[in-house]
Subunit: 220 residues, 2 copies
């Protein structure tokens, strides 16, 4: 009898250890739409003035999934010491600080630093020169590779069992599937449920715009 | 006593179910060097003749990690209906059939199909035109996105507990880490141990040339 109890205790211990750090994917987990971003630019009004002329207003081309955000008709050229990238889309509306979101491969092509950052976290980030139809703007700070994240409402965070700022792992099925860890939850009011990744992340894992992903609760 | 045995049986069953499909990463797992490939071209002698002139021999620039393979001095332009990509490196020696390995993003830029394939598996793959210094070659079949794979010797496969042709998942640590499933084991003689991925896969997961990856035995 004692032996059984000892064995049971050991088995339970093993079970606990096995479950720790293990991925628990429930088929009932709600799926999350994916938004795939190519390189793009958010501008301050001061830089809009420099690049397009004083008081210029950006022209909305189409609304994006996040409320109030839109793609603009206007594009710019990004220049770095090693190369240029033409026709990079501007997203509106104007922001407090200019933010240039590029791909990791763009940073090699341009020859600039682009740390992995969440939107708005720009201290010590990279530098480029933007060329517009009416002038250029040297951006001393604001060049980043966007850190993958999931937008959701606070009440959706409760549903998913996650917290604002938490890092989760998402699973991607398919022939080129796998998982992405350190996907940051951004649970604030006025959000549209969407997992934001860039085109390199999408291509590497075979993710297409109509796919949905699943949160694994534990980060790897 | 019967109750204990029943409980034990259930626990063992649960343990087995829990372990099934679970990642088992041992810290003692041998690490595997990573080789990151950008877009590149393998040419048949017939296409070398067309592009560089009859009987032309490619010029070795540097040896690659796989024995007998080398990067050449020569580059070509790849043309598709939607765009061109200049200065694409040729890898030698000449092969039986021309094979153009591009990135998923290149396939959009060129406007061509590029299925995910292992080297040599070219039936029904994509088509482009190559432009060289002495002529062009229309490649009716041979354009692919390289399927990630791990080269190793048969005796290394035994060490890793994998088989030639098996698909495994590899784990990548770091801020942009995660896992890649369906990485095919290629265990043949005269191989150098290396996991081959392309630059989009490397960038998406923060993989740099000096990194090593670990096989998770179970494919997700």
């Amino acid at each position: 009898m004692d032996n059984y109890e000892e064995l049971l205790a050991k088995l339970l211990e093993k079970l606990a250890a096995t479950n720790q750090g293990q991925t628990t994917i429930s088929s009932s987990n709600p799926k999350i739409p994916v938004g795939i971003s190519n390189r793009h630019i958010h501008l301050s009004q001061k830089d809009i003035d420099k690049l397009f002329g004083y008081g210029y207003q950006l022209t909305k081309l189409k609304d994006l999934s996040q409320p109030g955000q839109y793609a603009c008709k206007e594009t710019l050229m990004i220049c770095g010491p090693k190369g240029v990238i033409e026709k990079v889309r501007i997203l509106g509306p104007a922001r407090k600080q200019t933010q240039v979101e590029i791909l990791q491969s763009d940073s090699f092509k341009l020859g600039v630093k682009a740390p992995l950052r969440l939107s708005g976290d720009l201290v010590g980030s990279g530098s480029v020169t933007l060329i517009g139809p009416k002038g250029s703007a040297e951006i001393s700070e604001g060049v980043v590779v966007a850190k993958r994240h999931i937008h959701m409402l606070p009440e959706e965070a409760v549903l998913f069992g996650v917290r604002d700022g938490e890092a989760v792992t998402v699973e991607i099925l398919g022939e080129r599937g796998g998982s992405l860890s350190n996907v940051v939850i951004r649970a604030v009011e006025n959000s549209g449920l969407e997992c934001h990744i860039d085109t390199e992340e999408a291509n590497a894992l075979g993710i297409t715009p109509n796919m949905e992903i699943v949160i694994k609760k534990n980060n790897i």
